[in-house]
Symmetry: C2
Subunit: 103 residues, 2 copies
């Protein structure tokens, strides 16, 4: 897995459409078409957003015949959020809790 970069992570999340895609493939595997059908943007746009999520390490990818399936990488989400909290909320109790849960 590529290194966690808090700016890259934030950039990946910094778009409404991308967050909707993340929601769609959270806790389940979706083909690109599954996603396209549930959104109001074109297939290339969905592929474009998936590429950004892929580059940020935020999705797992599985190719199966013609189709490509994506699912959200929850572990990575936790790692990135945890890193943000340690960096930008070091004095909060919840950050301690997260640090403990991550170690």
């Amino acid at each position: 897995m590529s290194k966690v970069d808090p700016v890259l992570f934030a950039k990946a999340l910094a778009d409404e459409t991308r967050q909707r895609i993340m929601n769609l493939c959270c806790c389940k595997w979706c083909s690109v078409n599954d996603i396209v059908e549930k959104m109001d943007v074109s297939q290339p746009t969905v592929s474009h957003h998936l590429a950004i999520l892929r580059e940020a390490g935020l999705v797992h990818v599985r190719e199966e015949g013609k189709q490509t399936f994506y699912t959200l990488n929850q572990e990575r989400v936790v790692a990135c959020c945890g890193q943000l909290m340690v960096k930008f909320a070091p004095e909060e109790k919840a950050t301690e809790a997260i640090s403990r849960a991550l170690s």
Copy 2:
């Protein structure tokens, strides 16, 4: 405090300069000039970024005479990260831990 919006939050963090500013005023109060002096961008640019952080509720502001002091709102950082984790990593153990710590 304004409502927590995960896209707005991510957008606020989605810039290297802004994250550097956040780091500078994490755990202490900084005047705008304090920040400008430690960065390689102009004063208006710093003010611009601070405005974005302000609109995202990510900083506390205190005016004192001619100066305006900013400090990172760590509680908000935790709330936003927690929300992201609940939304995008609901099956992770650490998310449970954060939920518990936040309630």
